[in-house]
């Protein structure tokens, strides 16, 4: 889980840093027209809107990030209210259970119905939150996949125009493969694992069987391991294969330059001038596509990520405060339910990471 969060933060930081370092070069009209046929800004904007994002093709990264922060801060009070309501309700239930258990222990007459009632009440309060968060996570993953179908081919075509053909094909195929893998795993394995984890946690809290607790931990570990494996494998493959593809592309460009140098001087001058123009124009366009892609991905994620994170915090806080008053299985159950939100947050973050890593990798390849 920490590895997934760390990966998302590192990728975001790298993306912001790169865009401040890439120089802006003026492009000629012919190259712009030719490249404009590869990338349709209006179609990209429409695809972004259909996927729940909001970005304007051509806006700067600073403006895009500012707009997302603005959107987030406008929505934050409402999301905070929802999460706080659930957290407070949960805390009240946990505190009542704690008081009842304390009285029971003081009186010396065991009442096994008290923790059971607490577990049932906690489950009843959290069931709608869990369903909503799981549905939100699934929607984000499928929205990302749908947007990737339009963004990645455009990004690959522009990257290929800079001469990095092998790298462009490799990045696109890897991103599409991992996105499909995540989508298939989401419905077929990850969401069942999350629900299985919740069921095992509730059963443990109700029955007190240590085996069920270990079962829940195993399911949580399995989901986390799958996410970490996908993230690590994808970033590692992208890094290693991009390096190899970059060398192949550089060799191909050198071979072309050598062939150009053997041409008639005037023709050689036209060819090398045209190649430099295309490289410069494609570099500018790649930056534009990359910024648009990143801003759209972040805008798709902002509400679900905020909502999941706030619910995770609310449940974790309720569990911690209740455990401080009276430690027990019911308080621990709230903590385990917060882990379910963290798992969905990891899945959502991973779907964004796949696209962001592909975009950053494409931009760093523009030096062939």
């Amino acid at each position: 889980m920490r590895a997934v969060f760390r990966g998302v933060l590192v990728t975001l930081f790298a993306a912001v840093l790169l865009f401040f370092l890439i120089p802006r070069v003026q492009a000629t009209e012919a190259a712009e027209d030719a490249l404009g046929d590869l990338v349709d800004g209006d179609a990209l904007e429409e695809a972004g809107r259909d996927s729940g994002g909001s970005a304007t093709f051509g806006e700067s990264l600073e403006d895009g990030i500012a707009r997302i922060l603005d959107m987030g801060s406008n929505l934050l009070p409402g999301l905070l209210k929802d999460a706080a309501r659930s957290g407070v309700l949960l805390l009240v239930i946990l505190l009542f259970c704690g008081i009842a258990e304390t009285v029971q222990e003081a009186s010396g007459s065991p009442m096994p119905a008290v923790p059971l009632a607490g577990v049932l009440a906690t489950a009843a309060v959290s069931v709608s939150d869990i369903h909503a968060m799981v549905a939100m996570g699934r929607d984000v993953v499928s929205d990302m996949r749908r947007f990737a179908d339009v963004l990645l081919p455009a990004s690959a075509a522009v990257t290929a125009a800079t001469g990095a053909v092998t790298g462009a094909a490799l990045r696109q195929m890897a991103a599409v493969l991992c996105s499909d893998l995540l989508l298939d795993l989401m419905d077929g394995l990850l969401v069942p694992l999350v629900y299985g984890y919740i069921a095992a946690a509730v059963a443990w809290a109700a029955a007190g069987n240590e085996g069920l607790n270990r079962m829940a931990e195993f399911l949580k570990w399995a989901a986390t391991a799958i996410l970490t494996l996908i993230a690590t494998g994808y970033v590692g493959y992208l890094t290693a294969a991009s390096g190899i593809a970059g060398a192949a592309d550089a060799a191909a460009v050198k071979a072309t330059r050598f062939a150009i140098s053997g041409a008639i001087p005037v023709v050689g001058g036209i060819l090398s001038d045209a190649a430099e123009t295309v490289l410069a124009s494609a570099g500018v366009l790649q930056g534009t596509v990359g910024v648009f892609g990143m801003v759209t991905v972040l805008s798709i994620c902002v509400v679900p990520v905020l909502s999941l994170f706030l619910h995770y915090l609310a449940y974790r806080l309720a569990s911690t405060l209740a455990a401080a008053a009276h430690p027990g299985r019911v308080a621990d159950l709230a903590g385990k339910l917060s882990n379910a939100f963290a798992l969905m947050l990891g899945i959502t973050g991973l779907s964004a990471l796949l696209l962001l890593a592909a975009l950053v990798s494409a931009i760093t390849a523009i030096s062939v």
């Binding site: 075509a157 290929a160 125009a161 094909a169 085996g211 041409a263």
Partner: protein, 163 residues
Amino acid sequence: MMSFLRDWLLGVTGAALALAVLKTLVPRGSVSKVCALAGGLAVLFAALQPIVSLDGDLMAEAAAAYQAQREEYQEKLQESRDAVLGTVIESRAAAYVADKAAEMGISCQAEVTVSDDENGVPVPWAVSAWADWEPGQQEALGEMLERDLGIPPQRQSFMERDE
């Protein structure tokens, strides 16, 4: 691959869950220990069985299919890149021809088409020029085109401006 992973994890999970329920139901004593041992062996079998039956050829076929798909897509990207480069070369070459013609006192509009040479490099291949031609201008421009751009006379077209 998805279904393999799903079936494997669910199998292990189901076996472990059944073992947990069994341990709860069985009374403490030697029976419980025997059940724990049997259940542990069942979980181990559930964990190892799909791995043992994993088809190595399937993995090799999947890798080969991915590689073939990537190469096909790479060819398409190369074609789109060549198309962009070709368009810019045509534009540059046409501008060069018009500039050179202007130096010769010819006001003409030129259109150049490119084609790959023997090294796969797109080079100017043919030219069409439209102008109000005066005597000798077509020959002078033709010599320049052959000297500077390597376009032989058979690939040069000179037309009147209103054609």
